[in-house]
Symmetry: C2
Amino acid sequence: MSKSNNVYKDAYNRCLRLLDESRSLPSEPELGTLLGVSRTTVRSILARMEETELIDWNKRNKTVLRAPQPEDFFPEEETDSLAEIIERSFMRRLLAGGAEAGMQINELELAREIGVGTTSVREFLIRFSRFGLIEKRRNSHWVLKGFTRAFALELTEIREMFELRSAAAFAALPEDSAVWADLDRLEGEHRQLASQIATRFNEFSELDERFHRLIHRASHNRFIVDFYDVIAMIFHYHYQWNKAEERQRNEVAVQEHLAYIAALRSRDPGKVDAACRKHLKSARQTLLSSIPEGRQAQPA
Amino acid sequence: MSKSNNVYKDAYNRCLRLLDESRSLPSEPELGTLLGVSRTTVRSILARMEETELIDWNKRNKTVLRAPQPEDFFPEEETDSLAEIIERSFMRRLLAGGAEAGMQINELELAREIGVGTTSVREFLIRFSRFGLIEKRRNSHWVLKGFTRAFALELTEIREMFELRSAAAFAALPEDSAVWADLDRLEGEHRQLASQIATRFNEFSELDERFHRLIHRASHNRFIVDFYDVIAMIFHYHYQWNKAEERQRNEVAVQEHLAYIAALRSRDPGKVDAACRKHLKSARQTLLSSIPEGRQAQPA
DNA sequence: AAAATGTTTTTTCCCGATAAAAGACATTAC
DNA sequence: GTAATGTCTTTTATCGGGAAAAAACATTTT
């Protein structure tokens, strides 16, 4: 079976949404850039759209014939990459419980369970290992270190070190740096969200990530920037399966972000440090409080 | 061809050295622990030793018949794991020159050049990517970011942050902690090396790594401990192909380590901080001075 | 009965093969 | 002559298979 064509399917679906917006499609290279795929894939998409009579395709002319129907779309689950599928499966097992520290991880078993080849699982585990949750025994199995309180503490220790430094660097950026405009835009989005927090609280995670990544980028240090991947991954999955107090939690965080943004804009190192510390402290508290000390196995 | 038996060959060679020291060999499980391999591999080793009449093997009795000769050993190059072979080849290309930032890395080409399968190369690149020197374009090639001055600065920035914190944690460890004995032992080795620095200066790298790892471990933070892998890798390869001033460099470093150790033992935070900073500063200088700013391609 | 040896099963490591996707080259249209 | 389309080549992503190594199970020895 070798390789699934999820890139094509995903791009096809996204291309369908483009159809709604215009009478005709741009050139092949342009479409490629727009969808983030190669021209080869673009041409496959166009070929199918012609076949299903969505468009009339003749060289440069790509006229839209009809609006796409729900059944024109490929099913969502066929648009995920193998890596995403494996990651989700793995994280579910890890966080849903029954995953005690010290437990062995078996590549073959995982592969069979998810229904993929061992190579993909191996590659996933190698990539995943940088998050510090698993460890390889050479020529042998992987060992699960577990999503424990110790892990959360070690993670937040580094996070705080890095973010304080990045925030200080951010505040020291020259007035004419482009980041200030980015910050303005983010502040606007925060205010918007704050005013509709009752209904839109679940949109916070995504905004949170963009905000912290902007700050981290000011460090101009790849190790700091890359470390945010660990944090983002943990937050993404952890909160996806742990919705307790989500609204309350996010409401507080939005306000802290706004204070943090104001401090950054003041460019006063003392204020930045204080606002940053305050937010990080509550983020740590939130994370820690969701990890019961005597973590027990629970059915998924 | 699937898998080379380098584990067996390497363990076999190490087992030969054991033969010199005693008249007979211990039990199979004991040998396994000693050599760090499974009993399956131990039995293969014993079988061959019997065949080449190095030992007489009858169940529990494994009597040494003769001393191993040079020709009994497997050639060194057959004892390396594929991962080591790939890493070495790759690092040679990277550091020997001709590896400009922005250059594309081609899995297939690399695999052909080294004479291994693509899977192994892919796995290596994924593992290697955490060092921050390469980056993956999804569904496409890898991009080399290059061993540049910027890289060295970003690396040392984190290193300094982490080591200062670890050193402070180290000094705060209780009097009865086992680390003080480890430190004593390391100090002894440093003094030994210092007194024979003229001839043994090339043994410093290994001591250096053990010393810094001991300190980093005091942080009790897996991210800090793991980060030392990046530093160790860079130092290992970089200095392996850049021997300028090696003796002078190491002589200074040994003295700095001794001062650093004394500061740790004083448990005075101010002294620790000062000694640590001093050593890190000169380490950074050394690394930076070996990276010419306008780095040019040079034949290997 | 504890610990070794003997035997069998499972898992890891690595390759070659193949479809998907990207990329390069050749040709045509504007 | 620039930028598109058309065609061909190369590379990546993934699988299944097979030897090496580990691990599990069964049997013997002390």
